[in-house]
Symmetry: C2
Subunit: 362 residues, 2 copies
DNA sequence: ATGAAAGCGCTAACAA
DNA sequence: TTGTTAGCGCTTTCAT
């Protein structure tokens, strides 16, 4: 049996049922212009009776706004990004905006394609997560077309709006902490040095050393990719080198797990052999033994702030007016736990035990 | 300085530039009907020159399809859901569909509102994640309007299509394993018994007991909410009861962390005092000491399958034809690790040590 | 194979 | 205050 599909009622149907013209019906819904209370009542009654809901596509066609914001993120499977996306969606939803979501897989060609795709769909604004390519020209092109853009942890030059995490001071603080504990052979692992977060972290890391007239060992800065498998093998390589690090700063969501696994394989214990600092206070950092000292920030706040930055330059808040670029900086904080210990002479970093070597081999 | 904003070219502009009519230009793009190669070439050249891209909104207006699929999920911040969403998006993107995403916060009123919202935006299809309310009437209403619906782990009656995880056999297997180890006081923690996953798990759990002529202790089945804070306090309450469980089956993403924390507070060790099984093989389960035995399944496959089920009933695959309902069942597998041990008489479950009591108190 | 024109559902001018 | 009408950009008959 095939149920008869009754066509969705249009505003014409409602107008007819209410005994008014389509213009009046439209005005009744939008409260625009002057409409009599009687008309409003009649129209709304008719709409209710017919189960009418305005067609967003047709509205977009006329008004040239879609009520949709596009969000481009490099990897939604990253739980930390997911929390940000979640917050963005919640805030946008509250103001009646919908969220069009796409993954760029951290590929700038792909990102470009998705931006075009979104623009064809007439998104009212674009929120861009961090990505390898940070080309200000791209932003100019977007802005020139009156498309509000908000960046997440990405530099777009002075014309760009966005919310940024203060990775510089975060890395600075974490590194100082380790330096104070006597460590000097500190490994820094962070995704992509071409991304803003990576650059900032490396800068903060280096500055902390510079404060004491030191320079970090370049070989200990690992800033290529963020996959856990990568972190694992990198950590292992680092640990079996001639002068292995005595501390790890793991500034990427999946990195901690890889490093911890590497440490386990190499038979090193935390914090006795090696100190560890992680990022983004997760279940793992809280429950691992020892609990991991973490550098973190408020992910929900990042998402909410990004959404609000966007909302501010969308109707009705921005009544067609261009809004000044604005950046919000989120600070990080360190959660001190048990994974860092002093680097003492009695713990020679150079000589992993025979047992450690054996475990590492298999 | 304000850059002159040049209006986006329309198909009229392209047609004019190519010296053809709009109809021909349209046909040239869509390869529909008969068009001369010369015309196609001229039109495409003009389009390229002008930087023309068809307006998706206007296309939707005419064709009555939007190229957008809506996805409703109860909690995107759940990392496991995020992985599913990621896979859905990737598969949809490959076929040129966009993803409109919204969070329902597991509230059925909210879900209803978002469905309406999506329908107003003329989504071509709807993918619905698990939610408290599983009302087949709702599905009927949707289907009657020719809106393809695919469910994720949610029962919609025989008319519904979807992908389902075999939580029943998963729970059965996990419980059998614990039963074989000699445990009988096994706590089951899973989100919502009104949700399909919760119901199935409870059924599998109960059946495993029934196989040996046993019945689970009802008080040890905790199926209310899934928040970690909840799991923590529930675990604590369970552990300090007169007859505490000797094993925990934690079937929710955030539950493991809460239970582990509860165990730590109560001073119990895993697996000596208490055995633990978790769900969805995470970093935490792999790296916790001892590593946690886990019940898991392929989350990416769930998302991909859902997307493909949807694609199958969307153009061009389904040329306006209704497609038979179809369900896909994903099997679970157990990853055996170190968190489960035998329940022996020498480990009395009833008497937590004085130290454990003290720790639990503070 | 191509052009002209209708019209998707709605809003916004303009008239009345 | 209300009705009428002209499009928004596109696809799709229907002639030619």
């Amino acid at each position: 049996m095939k149920p008869a599909r009754k066509a969705k009622p249009t505003i014409r149907d409602v107008a007819a049922a209410a005994g008014v013209s389509v213009g009046t019906a439209s005005r009744a819904f939008n409260r625009a212009g002057r409409v009599s209370d009687a008309a409003i009542e009649a129209v709304q009654a008719a709409a209710l009776r017919l189960g009418y809901a305005p067609d967003a596509i047709a509205q977009s066609m006329r008004t040239r706004t879609s009520g949709v914001v596009g969000l481009l993120v490099s990897d939604l499977a990253n739980p930390l990004y997911a929390r940000i996306v979640n917050a963005v969606e919640a805030r946008l939803q509250r103001d009646g905006y919908a969220l069009l979501l796409a993954n760029t897989h951290n590929d700038s060609r792909h990102e470009r394609a998705m931006i075009d795709f979104f623009r064809r769909r007439r998104v009212d604004g674009l929120i861009l997560g961090p990505c390898e390519s940070e080309r200000p020209e791209m932003l100019d092109a977007l802005l020139a077309q009156d498309l509000p853009v908000v960046a997440l942890d990405r530099d777009f030059g002075p014309a760009g709006s966005g919310v940024h995490v203060d990775h510089f001071h975060g890395a600075l603080q974490a590194t100082r902490y380790l330096l104070n504990l006597g460590h000097t052979r500190i490994a820094l692992m962070t995704p992509g040095q071409t991304l803003r977060p990576g650059r900032e972290r490396i800068a903060g890391f280096t500055d902390a050393f510079a404060e004491r007239g030191l320079k970090p060992e370049p070989k200990l800065i690992r800033a290529e990719r963020s996959a856990m498998e990568f972190a694992f093998s990198e950590a292992l390589a680092l640990l079996s080198s001639a002068e292995p690090p005595t501390a790890f700063v793991c500034l990427g969501t999946r990195i901690l797990a890889g490093v911890l696994q590497g440490l386990r394989h190499a038979g090193r214990s935390v914090p006795d052999d090696v100190s560890v600092i992680s990022v983004g206070d997760t279940d793992l950092s809280q429950l691992f033994s020892p609990a991991i000292t973490s550098l973190t920030w408020d992910f929900e706040a990042v998402g909410t702030a990004a959404a609000e930055l966007m909302l501010k330059r969308l109707p009705p808040a921005a009544a067609g007016q261009a809004v000044e670029p604005e950046r919000i900086v989120m600070t990080t904080q360190m959660v001190l736990r048990e994974s860092c210990g002093p680097q003492t002479a009695s713990r020679p970093a150079k000589a992993p035990s025979a047992r450690a070597r054996q475990v590492a081999k298999k």
